[in-house]
Structure formats: structure tokens, C-alpha cells
Symmetry: D2
Subunit: 333 residues, 4 copies
């Protein structure tokens, strides 16, 4: 608890977003203790061994909505113990009000979490004032905890406008953000004045990195399909930035980009959001690198054609990872 | 716990929706035990004395999102004890997943609640299948508990379409619904085949009652501004239905209707929903009949002009109540 | 041109909305003179013979967007000549700006049209001020022309809020409105203070009529599937109002209501609006009473499953009409 | 008419979007011949003298919706004559159906226009099939005319998804597009396979150019506030691309970017779209470089605070232009 806060500059490279692995009966509302703690430890070790720079967890696909309180504590413990301080670990403590969030965040801190990837209570759509004050209150209540703004407009009924970024940039604990899209990236970067490291998704990282040199980190839920894809993206962008030659990074995007399409039903982020957890876990399971396991209720139902698309996305990602492995062997030979 | 389930026909007349009265420090995230239990008991007694037929609580304006677990139990206890079986009491047990909802619903049942006004987990927008299965699972888990579907499209990211009504009508525990609007009332009534009593809001009750003779109950959050307005509406519609002469009921709507307008900022239900709790509590406090008290965080911030509109709405309602009192005295003299 | 303006009270009973019948090549952008003028005359005569009280035309399904100027004049002439003053005839003169609308409305007046069913220019979403001023300007420019507000929120990017109705009620030429839904019917009726006859769709007429005694007219695009259905609805509501016994009207709605469902893809008005013309013309052709003909470009493309639903809707309507004929024969025998 | 079609590669640099200058009475629906032809010629000459690379016109702010047919021909003539072949000139021929669009596009071709900036008929929201077929039909009907897709989602009720771009890229006449945003830029660029030059707005040009080397052209409605700002942006990006040093271009964006904010009411593109014409013309008039003149009906009404923001945006742009002039003088001295 005496650790100093991170700074935006400390958040760098490839950050994996991980699911909460579940046991086989996890879709049954009668089930308890559904977290697969062994798989949790295995995944964390695997990601760190693969060179991942940080871990985000307990967001939407991490089933923060549907784990019981006890399961949350169990999972946090397993995660933090496995990481053992090798990389920063952000858990998720989003609740549907300020006071429960404060309480859970304090528990996470006591367990040794470096930070919380934190969304806004979503029963009512938050106004700008409500959203900003929520982050201020949590930061005031748990001043040793780093905060990653979890900027998901569908989950939190909030579009995270520029004035929001300008205001939360004043909160020292807010050091990073799981960010979506590049439409407003440049003005949002202007609004935060270097105080928050915005993390685009892996699929947007190449474009975002070219738009602004300050973008040197991203999040990747694909990392658990095959981490080498994620670290390769990170390294190619870093090499391009150093050399000024972006051709290899761009060529790699030509291989990575098409894996995104089948994940989004009808190309719609809104439709994806309805089935977010089921789609992401199906994709991860199809990747074959980890066992994400069944979805906790009530979100365990999803149309089969959507799941098939997600699985295809995971398989494509994994195939790309295997091709990269083969290329590395070829290069080494 | 041995009480038989209600039937749709048992849900009749004027059902008050009440807030969770709060102590003066309730907007501070440091506060605990914020429920004003004395005011809770006083309001319940007052409503029953005034002739209200049932009580709904712990919805959006009832701050189900922002009470702590302990506060929920305290409030339920006070509410159920005060009602003492004189009218049916529905608490609210909406949580952000199935298992927490089941656990809380079981606690509510054990405390003696007649039912739960139950919304759908709202982190992800529920698909039709997810929403229906959620109600089935809760009903299976707590079979002695009556369920009122809490059909708020803004809160729950779900538009409660006709097939939803057709499917939840198969669940015996689902006996009523806090319903919004009259746009789809007739087809939705056809879909439920008499198995669920749909409760329109007070402002829509006259129109809904004229549209269909089966509509003989409604919900009223205005009841706590002055219950006589709510019971007068109920009685005038009943008299009209009996006599076939709707002129007095219609004339009364001409007095009641205008009190709604200032409650909705720019006439928008979506905008109202963002500030639902603050607006409703301001309106109630302005009514002068009860002390709703401050809003729990993070929803305690609201633009002053919106609050002024809400207060005006509450004052207009209260003035109508006083006028009705005076007219009753005049008629009696 | 010396005819006095209609009043709201003059608009009564069942108003048919008709398509612009087209020749077989009408979906080809090379085609000209695509209006089937013979079918136009036949349909108008048929509707009037069947007892329809008024005719609305050249709205969305009437292909006002896609007829050439010459075709519009040809169609108006055929329509007005066939009606020959027996019932009021409203054409449609919606253009994408004020000046073109004025010019076309003047031409329609010169041809003998009683009124124009008039929407708002839809390139930009109109603000409230823009929408109101548009109707004021057209009314000022063509003071002898009756105006029916064409209140379609999807077509015109405008939600026709209460203040709109209050303001256009001040324009003497505005005597009626093609109205959608019943959600806001009572407050909108209050806003117009008796100066505009709001016409709900046939499917909503029973409910609207019960909600308010002033509702004694409606529009029906189903009329051209089989006019007896439309006039039966009108007559049963009138009889119910006179007798106070609504049971026969309600029972009839139980037969009519289900014909609506297959017309709306996935139950969505927004989705219906995308394919409005193709769906309505397919429905009408399937009714077998008239030949609506192919859709003019660019709106001639529509997914086959949607068309199948629309055809089913038309067949169901036509079957209801035939059943009514048989029942009338039975009753007469 | 014997001119060969342009290719995507021919569309380069800074393309100005111009309004249709209007005479003082142009907001009156009684007015005719409202185009200020002298100002039209002056503006075209001024832009070309300032080094602008191409001209787009008769879009939303160019009042394609509200000019009469005669005015459109007058304006096209003046515009094309003034340009005299020195830069490519695109007029706008968007109508609310295919056949009128074909007719007007043929007239524009006959007058010597190089291309048409063409939106989709917007009475009904177009489905993907309808939108694609519309462009195919116009291209087939007027094969000598270059087409710029006018991708405005608010005006045309269409979100221009990736499959749209993939399909219209097959049409040889489609050589460029007035494009909005950068959110989907990289996948859309992949979809068009180099066959269409996508033009981002000036405010997005820096970011888009960094994202992809193929982006070497943009549109600018600010050009008529002070063209030097627009050409400076073009030149700094070109220099950065040549040298690999983007610092001067980025620093310039830091000066240009803030002029955008006051143009968008509450930061909303949707709200901007409602008042697009009034806001853009107010901004242009405030720039002082040209006289855009009053707005044609019905879009001439706009809240004063919104206009004030637009004027501020225009003044800021003009001041930046003057500062650039002064800096150029200083550098030359």
C-alpha cells in the first residue's frame, strides 16, 4: 500500500484484457465458486512469460457484472498472487453506486491490486457532472489506487465527451483509460494534456500510433487467443516509430485487421455489446490458448450464428499467431 | 411464506410508488445507514390510511441502485412492518446479475415481502432470450415470491416487446407490471392473455382505462405528493366505468395532466431518466406531504432549472390535492 | 377555388390512403409516364362506392418522393377527376424546400385538389421553429388549400412534439393530420384545442376512439386491400359510441389487429420505414382488390422475407374482408 | 463531354466546399433568382488564385435542398464559367429520387461540370442495396460524369458501412468521396482498394494523413473563411510526409483545431446538422472573405447562441489566416 501511484508514462506497451475463467457449471444460477482459479493463474503466468506489459480484468467480458462478491475476491487474489508484482495488474471494481464501488476498491487495494479499471454506475445514464464526480469520489476515498477509466459507451450509457476527459485529467489517480475508437482521439489527447495514457484497442493501435506519437500502449482482448500476435503488434509499431518506416507495421495490420470482422455481428458495436461476454469468451475458447469457460447468468444465451462468427475470429487470430511462430522459426533457421 | 401467490385480478386500484426516505447526509459517499426509517413508517401508514391499494418500492426513484445491502434490508423491514399486511407490499430486488438477484429476493421473501418489482440486469443490454430467462430463473429460484415486471426501457436497455410479454405471461409468479405508455397497450394486453395486470402511470390511467376495460389499476409516484389526487383518479375512473359517463373523469384529467409537464425536462423521457431520482425526490419534497430527502451518490447532481421544474410539478400536484380537499369539505357542508 | 376551407369537424369517418398505381416498367429508371391512370380512376371510384369518406394520397407509400413532376400532375388530375367532388381529396405536395412546395401546392389547387397531405422538408432535420414556419409559409402562400399535417417521424426527422401541435393549430388551413400512435394522443388533443382532426391509423382507431370522444376519423392504407374492413371498423366504433356498448368493436379489433404484425419487419417501425413503399405495395397487391404495381426507384429493392410478411398482411386483411362479406350475406339471408 | 473520367489519383490537395451565395431577400419564400452570381464568380476566382485544388458545391451548406431548379442551373453556369477548367468543379445533383437525379446530372454535364457530389435520396432511409443501386443507376445513366460520394449520415439517413464502400468502389465514375470522421478510415480504405480518394474534413486531415499515406486530399468549408489556412494545412502535411518530420504540421493543428469547437452546438454533430446551413453561412460571413448571404427557406431559422458560436468559429479561422499572412511577410522580410 506504500507503492507510489503510477504515472501515464508508466503505462506502456501491450496490456492484455483477460476474462474470468469459469468452471463448467458456471451458466447455472445455482452454481457458486465458479471461478477456475487454476486457469486464472496459468493464464497470468502465460501472458507475463509471453511479454505482456500489464493486465486489465473484470470489465464487461471479465464478468464484473455477474460474479458474486466472494468470487470477485477469490479471482483478485489468484490474479494478484500469480502476477506477483511482475507487471501492473488492474482489477475491476465497478458497482452500481459510489459507496459499493469504494468498498470494493478498498478490498482490491488491500489484496494488492495496482489499479482498478473502473466504469460508471449504469442504472441511470450519468450526466457529465455525475460521471466526473463519481471518479473524484472514488479517488478521494481510495487515494493509493490507480484508476483506468473504462470508457465503454454502450455499457455505461455515456459517451465520454471531451469535457469529461479534461476534467478527469485533473485527478492524479486516473493514469490510463481503456479507450474506444479513434474518431475523437486527437482532440481527446489535447484535452488530457498528457496526464492519462489512452489505450486504443489492438485493431486501432496502428492508426492511433500514427496519428500521435504519444500513443505507445494499447489493450488487447485477443492476447489470450495467442499473445504473440499482441506483442508482435507492439514491437512492429515500436520499430516503425524508431525507424520512420511503417511498412512492416502496416503490412501486419493487413493480416490482423480481417480477424476483427467476424467478431462483430452485422458490423455493429451495439449488437456486439448485447452479446459481448458470450462472443468474447467463445472467441477466446476458439483461440485454443486458454479456457475461458461458460458465461455466467443472465448473459449466457447468444444466437449460434453470432457465436460462430466469434469463434471464427478467434481461430483466425490463433492461426496468425501460429504463422508468426513459424516465421520466427524460419528467420532463426 | 405459506401465502398463496397473488393473481392478476388481485392487483387493483391505486398503487403508490415510494422513494427510500433519506437522512440529511445521504448524498455524502461516506455516509452509512442513510435510510430514514421513521419517515418510512410514517409514509406507509399515511398511504394506507389514505386508501392506497398497494405499495411498490425500490425501483429507480426508490434508489435500488444506490442503497447498500444493509440499507436495503433495513428499509424492507421498516416498510413491511409498517404495512403489517394491510396492503400488498412489493420491494425491489433488481441486481446486476441473476445470482445476486436470487439471493436478495430470498432475503426479501424471508422478511415478509409480498413481491418484488424486478428489472433486468443492465450492464449489457439484454436480448429477448436473456430477459425472459432471467425472470424464469428468479421465479424458479423463489417460487413463493410475486413478481412485478419493472418495464423501464431507459434503465434496462430493453424495449419490452410483445414477444417478451407473451413469454413472461407463462410464468405464474409474474402477476403485474409497472408499465410505461399506452402506445402498445392493446397489443400487449392481447399478448398477456389476462395473466398479468399491466399498471400504467397515473397520467396515462384515464386513457388506458378507456382503451380497455381490463385496465383497473395503475401506479403513481405522485401519490406521495398528496395521496388524495391518486385515489380521486382511481375513484372517478371506477365511477365512470360503472355509469358509462366519463365526463367527470375526463374533466379531472384536465386538472391532473398539466402537473406532468414541468417534471420532464424539455418534454423528454430520456432526459428525465438521466436525472430521474433527483427530479422525483425534488418533486416529492415540494409536494410537502413527505420528506424524500437527499439523493444518494452518484446521482445527487442535477441542473437547478430541471429541479425547479420538478418542484413546480410537485407543488401543482399538492395544490390539486388541497383543492380536492376543499371541494370535499364544500360538498359535505 | 372559391370553395370555403374545411373545418376539423368536416373531417370524419374512414379516410383511405392510396398508392400511386404504376405500370409494369416503373422500377426502371429509364421509364417515364409510369402512372397507371386507369387503375387510379378505378380505385377512386371503388373506394367511394364502398363508402370511404375521404382520400389521402402522395405520401410515402404514394411515392411522392419518386414521381416526376409530370407524373404528379397526371396523377392528381386523374384522381381529382375520378372523385368528382364526391369526397374530399387530398394530394401530397411535399418537396424538399418551401418554394417548390408552394409552387406545387398552387398547381394542385388549380387542378381542384381539396387539400394537401404535407410533410416537412427532410434534407436537414427541422427544428421546431423551422417546421412551424414551413406550414405557416405554405398556408400564407396558398390560403385556399386545406392542409393535413403528415406526421411521420421517420420520414421527416421530426418528432412532432406538443408545442408543434399547439402552434400549427393556429393556422386555419391546417384542418387535419395523418397521426401516428396513441402514446401522446391525449396531451396532443389538449394542445390542438379542437382545431385539427387527428387521424390515427386504422389499427389504433378503436383505442384512440375509446380514449377520447373527439376521435371520429382515421386513416387506412389497408382500405385498398379490401375497403369493407375499413368501413366496418368505422361503423362499429360509431355504433359503440352511440350505444355505449363497445364489445362488438372490441371483438372486431381482435380480428383486425393480427393482420398488422407481419407488415412490420421484426416489429420495428424504423425498419418498416426503410422499406415502407415496397412493403405497402406488396401488401396491397396481395390484397387482390387493386393493382398497386412496382415501386419506383431507388426504393424498389426489398428483402424477400420482408415482402413475404407484407403479402401475408394483405392476404389476412383481404380474408377478413371476405369473411365480413359472407357474414353480411348470412345476416341478410 | 469528351473529357476522360478522373481517377482517384487525380483528386489531390485542398478541395474547397463552397456555399451558394445569396441575395439579401433569399430567406423570403416569395423571392426568386436568389443566387448572387457576381459573388459566385468572385469566390471561385479567389479560391483558384489562392491555390485551391478543386471545388465542391451544392451539398447541404450549398443549399441543394432549397434552390429552385432554375437557380441551380444559373449557379452551375456561373461556377463552371468562372473556373474555366483551371481546377475540377463538382456541382451537386442530389434529388429525392433516381430519375430526377439522372435528369439534373445530365444537365450539369451539359453545362460542363466535371463531377457531382452526390448524396442518396433521403425521404426513406436507404438500405444498403438501395444506396448502392442508386449510385450504379446514376453512373450508368450519365457515364461521362465523375461522382463524389457525399457521405453525410445525418442528411441521408445512412451510415455508409464498409460493404457500401466495397461495392461502390466497383463503379468507375466514383472517384472520390466527401468523407466524415476517421473512426473507420483504415478499414474503409481497405474496402475501396485505392479506387476512391476519400476526402476527410480539414480538421481531421492531419490525423488521417498520418494514419495512411494514401490520404493526400481533403475538403474544407473553412476555405472560404480564409483560403490561406486551408492551403497551409495542405502544404505542411505534404512537407511532413516528404521530410518525415511532422512537428510543424502538428503544431499547426494546435492552432487550427480550436476553431472547430464553437461551430458545433454542445459538441454535437447531430445538433449541428439540424442547423448546418445557417451555422456554416454565419461562420463564412463572419470570416469576412466572402458574402455567403442569407439562408433559403425553410432552414433560415436558427437560435442566436448557436449562430454566435458559428461566427466565433469563422472569426478564429480568419484571424489564423491573418496571422499566417503576417508570418509569411515576416519570413519574407
Amino acid at each position: 500500500m506504500a507503492k507510489p501511484l503510477l504515472s501515464a508514462a508508466d503505462v506502456k506497451g501491450a496490456w492484455a484484457i483477460i476474462p474470468t475463467p469459469s468452471k463448467d457449471n458456471a451458466s447455472d444460477w445455482r452454481a457458486t465458486k465458479t471461478v477456475d482459479l487454476d486457469e486464472t493463474a496459468r493464464v497470468v503466468n502465460g501472458l507475463i512469460d509471453a511479454g505482456i506489459d500489464g493486465i486489465l480484468s473484470m470489465g464487461t467480458l471479465g464478468e464484473a457484472a455477474t460474479m458474486t462478491h466472494d468470487e470477485k475476491l477469490d479471482f483478485m487474489r489468484a490474479l494478484i498472487d500469480a502476477a506477483a508484482g511482475r507487471v501492473p495488474v488492474f482489477v475491476g471494481t465497478t458497482c452500481i453506486n459510489t459507496r459499493d464501488t469504494v468498498a470494493l476498491t478498498r478490498e482490491a487495494l488491500a489484496l494488492g491490486a495496482d489499479g482498478t479499471m473502473l466504469g460508471v454506475p449504469m442504472w441511470c445514464a450519468p450526466s457529465l457532472d455525475v460521471a466526473v464526480q463519481f471518479y473524484k469520489d472514488v479517488a478521494e476515498a481510495v487515494p493509493e489506487m490507480n484508476i483506468a477509466i473504462y470508457a465503454n459507451p454502450e455499457a455505461f450509457k455515456f459517451d465520454f465527451p471531451r469535457p469529461f476527459w479534461a476534467q478527469v485529467a485533473e485527478i492524479p489517480q486516473v493514469v490510463t483509460a481503456k479507450y474506444i475508437g479513434v474518431a475523437n482521439l486527437l482532440p481527446d489527447l489535447a484535452a488530457i494534456r498528457g496526464r492519462i495514457k489512452l489505450l486504443p484497442i489492438d485493431f486501432d493501435y496502428y492508426g492511433a500510433a500514427r496519428m500521435d506519437d504519444s500513443v505507445d500502449a494499447f489493450w488487447s482482448s485477443g492476447a489470450v487467443c495467442h499473445p504473440l500476435v499482441t506483442t508482435t503488434l507492439r514491437d512492429l509499431v515500436a520499430q516503425a516509430r524508431a525507424s520512420g518506416d511503417w511498412s512492416a507495421a502496416k503490412a501486419f495490420m493487413g493480416r490482423l485487421g480481417p480477424t476483427a470482422a467476424p467478431l462483430f455481428p452485422n458490423g455493429s458495436f451495439k449488437e456486439f455489446s448485447t452479446y459481448n461476454i458470450a462472443l468474447e469468451k467463445a472467441r477466446m475458447d476458439a483461440g485454443g490458448w486458454m479456457k475461458a469457460g461458460p458465461v455466467r447468468p443472465p448473459y449466457h444465451l447468444c444466437p449460434e450464428p453470432y457465436l460462430a462468427g466469434a469463434r471464427k475470429s478467434g481461430q483466425m487470430w490463433a492461426e496468425l499467431g501460429k504463422a508468426l511462430e513459424a516465421e520466427a522459426l524460419g528467420a532463426a533457421a
